[in-house]
Symmetry: C2
Subunit: 109 residues, 2 copies
């Protein structure tokens, strides 16, 4: 399961770094407590839509750009999860083939 707030936090943090801003500056500009913004960046708290808009204004980055970056990060994670799942299914298939008459043994038990 891909968790939106975690990737949103990553994108917000990397945008802040790119702008050379401190948490304290963004907190003051966005009028949000330092602790809250810090938790949002670490993906530990959901950001309300109003807070998200304030942070975007403080970072001087359009919300659409933030969301587009989050969408890209989510897509990468979805692809990685799909590959993981596929290789797990392959391993199960191989284990099944390697077991001689596996189903018969199972039904005899």
């Amino acid at each position: 399961m891909v968790i939106f707030r975690r990737l949103l936090g990553d994108v917000l943090r990397s945008q802040r770094m790119r702008k050379g801003l401190t948490l304290r500056q963004v907190s003051a500009d966005a009028r949000v407590s330092l602790g809250y913004i810090s938790e949002v960046e670490r993906g530990q708290k959901e950001a309300s839509s109003e807070l998200l808009a304030s942070i975007c204004m403080a970072l001087d980055v359009p919300l659409s750009e933030i969301l587009s970056e989050v969408s890209d990060a989510v897509a990468l994670e979805e692809a990685a999860l799909a590959m993981q799942l596929e290789s797990m299914e392959k391993s199960l298939d191989l284990a099944d083939e390697a077991r001689p008459g596996g189903d018969v043994v199972a039904s005899a038990a």
Copy 2:
């Protein structure tokens, strides 16, 4: 100020409609109360990241696709807001030019 939850709600609703699903079906599949999903679609409640993931699974649409659509909708709204602001500024400039010696009157008051 562009409010994320409103545009997210619009996108979730339109995706549900496209799939021909009822609120009740999504609510059952995502194991979320009907009232909550309905409020999320109307942009009245923030969806937690876990709820968002469950709704996406129930809709069988990747989260990245939902976010990409929301990003596009937000970009349109940002552009509309920028145009509105520009035309307001132009009107103010015109009003300023039309007022003879506006600044002098203001400072004399």
